[in-house]
């Protein structure tokens, strides 16, 4: 942008002011969460509240992460369950979405638009409504109460978005590359596997991030499908803490923080891909 000098650039100052406002709005709740998590239970219930705890303590975190403590055992188990389910969902999601996205991007076959439409439409239906029929479906497939039922369900949540994102990436890979390979004698499938896929790695990573985060954060289905306490995932487990822990707000805030850490870290590390993923599909060049 031009740097022509002006006495007061209202626009820029407005921008800065707005940025400050939005940052405050975003960050203050998170800070309050952290502050609460280092208070003792009674301290959190002071009225007027202590802004900075009189006796800050890390005991809430210790309790949650200590494998010898019953609370810690539960929490770590939920953590592992969430991780396992999210990973499985991500892997399967990518494996299924890649060829589908490629097909929608490159091929012209009858019903292509209709299929694409229906794949996207899935995004539109509230998950909650399908709870009971899906539960019955899982029963019929013998998957009740298993992690597989969650993985299968999450797969369908994530597929439309994954396919759409990947398709956006494929759309931006020039056809000429594959055509050149085909001229050299490669089959369409070989061209796809050896030329296109490696180029779409950023897209694959982006899709994987979305799948993982979606599966990690999901609550309603995990609550309904999983009965056994030792198979619960984090969001449900944490809610359980809340229902049973006689309003241990500091403990709950600590648990919330810990639950968010993997996702935020993943996101921060792979931020570039995340942003690209969102925008790639949005903007058509």
């Amino acid at each position: 942008m031009s740097t022509a000098r002006k006495p007061i650039d209202w626009w820029r100052w407005a921008g800065r002011g707005f940025l400050l406002f939005i940052l405050t709005f975003t960050v203050i709740p998170m800070i309050w969460m952290l502050l609460t998590s280092i208070k003792t239970q009674f301290a959190a219930m002071q009225y007027p509240p202590q802004w900075w705890p009189a006796e800050p303590t890390l005991e809430n975190y210790v309790k949650l992460l200590d494998p010898t403590n019953s609370v810690g055992q539960d929490f770590l188990l939920y953590f592992w369950n969430s991780f396992y389910v999210a990973l499985a969902t991500t892997f399967l999601g990518v494996v299924v979405a890649i060829p589908a996205a490629y097909a929608f991007s490159r091929f012209r076959f009858p019903g292509r638009t209709f299929l694409f439409f229906s794949v996207l439409l899935r995004n539109m239906f509230p998950a909650v409504v399908f709870l009971m029929p899906l539960f019955l479906l899982m029963r019929w497939m013998g998957l009740v109460g298993s992690h597989a039922s969650l993985v299968l369900t999450y797969l369908t949540f994530g597929l439309p978005l994954s396919i759409w994102l990947l398709k956006g990436f494929y759309d931006n890979i020039p056809i000429q590359l594959e055509q050149a390979a085909r001229i050299d004698g490669a089959t369409r499938f070989q061209a796809f596997l050896l030329i296109v896929m490696p180029l779409s790695t950023p897209g694959i990573i982006a899709t994987a991030i979305f799948s993982f985060i979606g599966a990690w954060n999901e609550y309603v289905y995990a609550l309904t499908f999983i009965n056994r306490q030792d198979r619960m995932t984090l969001p449900v487990g944490i809610q359980r803490f809340f229902a049973e822990f006689a309003t241990d707000w500091p403990g709950l805030m600590a648990a919330t923080f810990l639950m968010s850490v993997p996702v935020v870290v993943l996101f921060l590390v792979l931020q570039k891909y995340f942003v690209r993923a969102l925008t790639e599909g949005a903007v058509k060049h």
């Binding site: 003792t40 301290a43 219930m45 006796e55 005991e59 306490q229 006689a246």
Partner: protein, 493 residues
């Protein structure tokens, strides 16, 4: 240290109550066995006198129903101890399963501890998919819905080696549908009023006596709030939560109202009583506390009893209605407190008092609570039913020994013979206030035993409270609206 209630007063009150209770409950069978309990004599003295007077051999008794070497499979769901439960409950739970395994080593058991608030939903969903467990223990309001739908196996106390006379009549009512019994009571409890004597004293109230009537309670709450700036009564009004009706219904019944006619002598569960003048007075009392006096927590609309515990132990709430186990819970919380908190907590525990729930113009009432254990019909069970294994567990669970032990901190044995065991004696000696909470048992009124009851209690009644307390409707309109909903519901919507 007992509360300063004189026994004479207690017995006098109880005598009056028992006359009513005797009419309210179905007639007792004449008891010829020497280990029977005479409910007509119920009083703290009587309870003490029979404790420790009989011995029972659970494994031996149950071996008569199902041989101890029986080989089979078993699946069971129940709400067991969780992270918020006192440690002793967890210990006893472990002991129970160890004893079970020792008695019936060849029954392969899969036991699932499911949270109280979600157990019903999970059970319903599981039944839809024919994936239910063989045995389930549900809270007292929960079973009739499934009995009405035909999911549960008929079972009488005699089927597991006991007798009808061994259980509270009100408890047996709660497992009866269309004349047949579909479950066995495991434990029964009634709640009591708990208060912080120091707060009472600081507010200028008599620290050793609870408010005698509900109107008094409203006044006490106001005084405490006005003088000390903290909430008086721990009102609970959350939607879709069992805690709410358990605390509001005693109030409603005390004033003379009811959801249906469950508080009357011979209820037929067809007359709606939510909008009688008496019921409206009860609702008005809550309104007065929440809106007029602002003497209860503002968060009452989203609170359950859990949310009252922390303020109570921090000395910032004066009165709650809670289970016998609340004392153990407070002791636990106090033990876990650190630093300056510890001193506060210990002081609260030292000042805790239990008393009878206040009376109202019509009566003194409390919800007859507890749990029942049920056996699911074969076709709905995941993997099919193993009836012998199920019966063995039911016999074990409802035995005098285990129905007493498993109810250690929170409840009382469903099997009345449990009151005769040595463990009952131990409880009476070691658990403070147990005599007070057991003395409320005869004032217990069970919720209407109809499949629509969960909806009435967990949704319609809390909604009514919320409508009135938020000002969305006037007290009259809220009561009428709720009554209308119950009528619709009973009319088959």
């Amino acid at each position: 240290m007992k509360s300063a209630f004189s026994f004479a007063r207690t017995i006098g009150t109880l005598a009056a109550l028992l006359t009513t209770a005797a009419i309210a409950f179905s007639p007792m069978e004449a008891s010829a066995q020497d280990t029977s309990i005479d409910l007509n004599k119920w009083s703290p003295d009587y309870v003490r006198s029979i404790a420790g007077t009989a011995k029972f051999d659970t494994a031996g008794d149950c071996s008569k129903v199902v041989p101890l070497d029986y080989k089979g499979k078993l699946s069971v769901w129940w709400t067991g101890p969780n992270d918020a439960s006192p440690d002793i409950e967890r210990t006893i739970n472990d002991q129970f399963w160890a004893a079970w395994k020792a008695a019936y080593p060849n029954i392969e058991t899969d036991a699932q501890n499911v949270n109280y608030n979600v157990l019903l939903d999970k059970f319903r969903t599981a039944l839809l998919g024919n994936a239910a467990p063989m045995v389930v223990r549900l809270q007292i309001l929960g079973g009739v819905e499934f009995a009405a739908k035909g999911y549960l196996h008929q079972i009488n106390p005699e089927d597991v080696g006991y007798a009808k006379a061994d259980f509270w009549p009100g408890a047996l009512k709660s497992v009866t549908w269309e004349g047949k019994t579909y479950g066995i009571p495991t434990n029964n409890e009634t709640m009591a009023l708990i208060w912080n004597a120091k707060i009472f004293k600081d507010a200028g109230l008599d620290p050793e006596n609870p408010p005698a009537t509900w109107d008094d309670l409203v006044a006490y709450s106001k005084q405490i709030h006005d003088r000390l700036g903290i909430p008086g009564y721990g009102l609970v009004a959350r939607q879709n939560a069992g805690n709410t009706p358990f605390r509001f219904m005693p109030q409603l019944w005390a004033y003379g109202g009811g959801a249906l006619d469950e508080a009357t002598d011979s209820p037929n569960y067809k007359t709606v009583m939510l909008n009688t003048p008496a019921a409206k007075r009860a609702l008005q009392a809550s309104y007065n506390m929440y809106v007029r006096d602002k003497s209860v927590p503002v968060s009452a609309l989203t609170n359950t009893q859990n949310e009252n515990q922390a303020p109570f132990i921090a000395g910032k709430l004066a009165m709650v209605i809670a289970h016998p186990s609340e004392y153990a819970k407070m002791m636990d919380l106090s033990a876990k407190a650190t630093g300056a908190d510890k001193k506060i907590a210990e002081e609260v525990v030292a000042n805790m008092r239990y008393g009878l729930i206040p009376k109202g113009p019509a009566r003194r009432a409390v919800v007859f609570g507890g749990s029942n254990i049920h056996i699911v019909k074969d076709e709905y069970v995941d993997g099919g039913q193993d009836e012998m294994a199920a019966k063995a567990l039911v016999c074990f669970w409802t035995s005098p020994e285990w129905s007493t032990k498993l109810a250690w901190t929170g409840s009382n044995p469903g099997n009345l013979k449990g009151f005769r065991t040595e463990w009952m004696k131990e409880r009476l000696d070691s658990i403070r206030f147990l005599d007070v909470t057991t003395s409320m048992l005869p004032s217990g009124i069970p919720f209407p035993v109809i499949p629509e009851a969960p909806e009435i209690m967990n949704i319609i009644v809390p909604d009514m409270l919320q409508n009135a307390l938020t000002g969305a409707m006037t007290v009259d309109a809220a009561a009428d609206d709720a009554a209308g909903k119950v009528e619709d519901l009973l009319g088959g919507f």
